[in-house]
Structure formats: structure tokens, C-alpha cells
Symmetry: D2
Subunit: 138 residues, 4 copies
């Protein structure tokens, strides 16, 4: 099984929309935050990413919204790289509030160069993939 990264934080008041709950787009922000935390935990900083001239971008998201989120809610996000390919990762992320599943998502992240073309993973990502993914796909 691949490693599960966890991060916890709180819904902020300014993230509510005109319906008084967290807007669906903000869930993607939360997931991004959790992915940054995962990379950080593995020593992959924004600075290093920039220096590598290769960037991870999201090419597909499938997300289900199970529960609304409100100001002050304490949430936990689990992030897991489920497989990696030559130039991409498949990632699963789940948002919980006190043990209850609020949202689950499956994302595909592609590593691109400055022109936006998919390229092989930088060495650091590759190592991350090696450590994590026992589901290497061809």
C-alpha cells in the first residue's frame, strides 16, 4: 500500500459563498493545499520545482461532494499517490470532518515543461514515485 499523507486545517470565513457554505471550487483549493503539504513533507519545495523547470499540473479531476462545509469546521485531508506513469501521477484525496467523509476525489497530475508539453518526471518526483507507488503503470 502506498503512503497516506495527512494534513489538518480549518475552514476560514472568507471561503464561504453566497449560500453560506464552502463553494465547490474551494474544495479543489483544499486538495491543492494538501498536495503542497505532501510535496513539502518529501522535501520538494516550490523553489525546487521552479529550478527544475518542470511543473506538476492537474489534467483531470473527479470529485464527489458528500457534505457541505461551514466556517470553523476542522477538516483533515488524506492524500495518496495510487500510481505513477512516465510523466504523470494518479492521486486520491479524501476530505474528512471528525471522521465523516465530506468529499473524495481522484486526480491526474501531469508534469510539463515551460512550453506546457508533458515530460518525464524530474528525479525528485521519480524518487517520490518509487517510494510510494508499488503500482507503477506503463
Amino acid at each position: 500500500m502506498s503512503k497516506i499523507y495527512k494534513c489538518s486545517f480549518e475552514v476560514r470565513g472568507y471561503e464561504l459563498d453566497s449560500f453560506g457554505h464552502v463553494n465547490n471550487a474551494v474544495y479543489l483549493r483544499y486538495l491543492e493545499h494538501a498536495r503542497w503539504k505532501m510535496l513539502e513533507e518529501e522535501g520538494i519545495t516550490l523553489k525546487k520545482i521552479r529550478a527544475s523547470k518542470r511543473w506538476p499540473v492537474i489534467s483531470r479531476v473527479e470529485i464527489s461532494y458528500k457534505r457541505p462545509l461551514f466556517m470553523g469546521d476542522a477538516i483533515e485531508i488524506e492524500t495518496r499517490i495510487v500510481s505513477h506513469q512516465k510523466a504523470s501521477f494518479t492521486i486520491e484525496q479524501r476530505i474528512f470532518r471528525q471522521g465523516t467523509l465530506v468529499s473524495d476525489a481522484k486526480l491526474k497530475s501531469v508534469v510539463v515543461d515551460e512550453t506546457g508539453r508533458p515530460v518525464g518526471l524530474p528525479e525528485e518526483f521519480l524518487q517520490l514515485g518509487r517510494q510510494l507507488g508499488n503500482h507503477h503503470e506503463h
Copy 2:
């Protein structure tokens, strides 16, 4: 075929993220904007929605990101209700830049009451569904 709603607008500079392109979460904002425009075109305003005490919320999104977007890009969004059920809609949305597909998405929207429970569609939504959806699903 169901009606295709179109709206056009421009990417704003403050919508770029630290990679210099439009962040993936902002695409969902754009899609939301286009859905508001669709509702507006059918005479369904935020005020009416509030008065009805029933809100459309997004329960699922599947979105593919085909192209990056940059500041000043002129985009067009096509929105189409492909089917409606008792308390929900299935919607397809596509983002174009000068005729090139930038992103396509399939969303499920559920109408809920104040407690967040799925309820039947308000009369106005129903009419919208009747007009649009020749793909009524049970």
C-alpha cells in the same frame, strides 16, 4: 437536442496562480459563472432561489484540463443540461478559447432544502428541465 447556453468573458490577471496560469480551481469558478448566466437567461435569479428555500448544489464534477489559460485570454463557455431527475440535473460544460477546447466537464447538481437534504425541484427549475431536457431519467 437540449439548448446550449453560451457566455463569453476574459481571464483576469488576479486569477493566475504561482505558476503563472489559471489555477485548476478557478476553472470551476468559470463554470459556476456560466451556470449563473444560464439561470439568469431563464429568469431564475439568486433572489428567487433564496425565496424558494431550495438551492442547487454541486454533488459531483468530472473535469478534464486540456489547455492552460493565461491572463487576457478570451474564453467562451457552453453549458447544456443533458438530463434531469427528480431532484437533480446533469450538466455538461465546455470551455473554448478561439474555437479550441480548453476544458470539458460533466457535473451533477442536486437541489437541497435548508437542512441540506435533497428535495424535488422548485417549479421554476422543473419548467427549465421540461423545456430543456428531452432526456428525463427516472
Copy 3:
């Protein structure tokens, strides 16, 4: 001296703009978050505010940006009501990172009714003012 409310949190990766630092507008989001926390600490929730049909809105902001903020920065915000008038508050807020002043701001908040007209403070705000403001201005 009036009470100083403190709250601490962390800069999230998605709050960076295309220059790689926290965008100036996001500082106002942070200040809003800190004001929500202050109200919460005094038992004034969004729900109560809605029930009172009176809302605090910001009528003026003067803010100085002293330092940039980056992903992962741990910040602390101090919020202080420095005076209250019939229908408004003057608030001072300061953002720190490890004891260094990052930004300071002075804001004026007006309480309005549903039509947007300034009205007297709700009883709960008044009590908050009485407790805090020894600088009652006429």
C-alpha cells in the same frame, strides 16, 4: 486599553499569485478571518448576525504592506477595536510573522440593515463595544 484578540494560522499555497507571494487582496481576507475569530470568541456567530438582520460591512481600509508573505509562513494577527460610534467600529489589525510586523491596517466597519442603510449596533455588538471600547466616540 482595549482587548487584543489574537489568532494564528498558516499561509496556504493556493493563496500565492503569479509573482509567487501572497497577493495584496489576500491580506484583507486574512484580516477578515481574524475579525470572524474575534466575533466568535465573543459568541457572535454568523447565524446570530443573520438572525439580527444587521450586518457589519467594511466602509474603509487603510493598510500598509511591509513584508511579502510566502507559502507556509506562520502568521499571527492582532485585532483591536479602538473605538465605537453609534453605528460603526474603528478596528486596528496587525499581521506578524515570528514577531516581525508584516502589515498593519486600520479599518472602519459600519453596521447596516437589509437595505444597506447604516443602523444602530445590535445589542450584542453594543455589549462588545462596552466591554472593549473605553474610547467611545460621539
Copy 4:
């Protein structure tokens, strides 16, 4: 008198906060958008700014909120460089809705290098200053 730059656009539904109006922080986003448009009009693109390794950052904002903004409101922003100094600009911006003043702001923008230190203006900004500012301050 210095040149007045104008740009027009529409409030988007996702820019409303939990009170149903445009949040105060979003006004700063709008002002930023208008400044980007001004720079663009003068041929100063994000790409050129990045290449110059000097960035304009906001060091101070004083903004008054006169009117709320709602979804669909058509707004016009006037932007004017009122003076320029060695490494900075003073800018005035006003937001209108159908001729009515919604917000006015005075901002100070400082040009910094990669380390965040204020530096002299790049040649292109200088030219912009020369054209616009007959109020050169020392």
C-alpha cells in the same frame, strides 16, 4: 493632468461572499485587474515584467467602500498615476456603476527586485511615468 485609463467588466456570481455582496477584498482584485489593463495598454506585459526581474508590488492602500456590489453589476474602473518617485508610483482608482461612485482608492506601488528590495523603475515603467506623471516627486 495625467492620463485616465478605463476598463469595464461585470461582477461574477462567484465573487459574492456569505452576505450576498462582493467581499471587500475582491474590490482590491478588481483594482489589480484595472492596473494590469493599464500596463497592457502601455505594452507592459507580465512576460516583460518577469524578464526585467523587477516587480511592482503594492505597499499601501487606502480604500473607501461607498456602495455594495452584486452579481451582474456592470462596473467601470478609472485608473490614474498621480505621481511617480524614484522607485514607486502613486495611483488613484475609482470604481463606478452606471456613473455612481462605488469605491475610491489611493495606492502606492513600489518596484522591487528579486530579493524584495525597492529599486529604481525599469526603463519601460520610467517611460510610462514620464508620459503620465507631470507630478514627479523627489
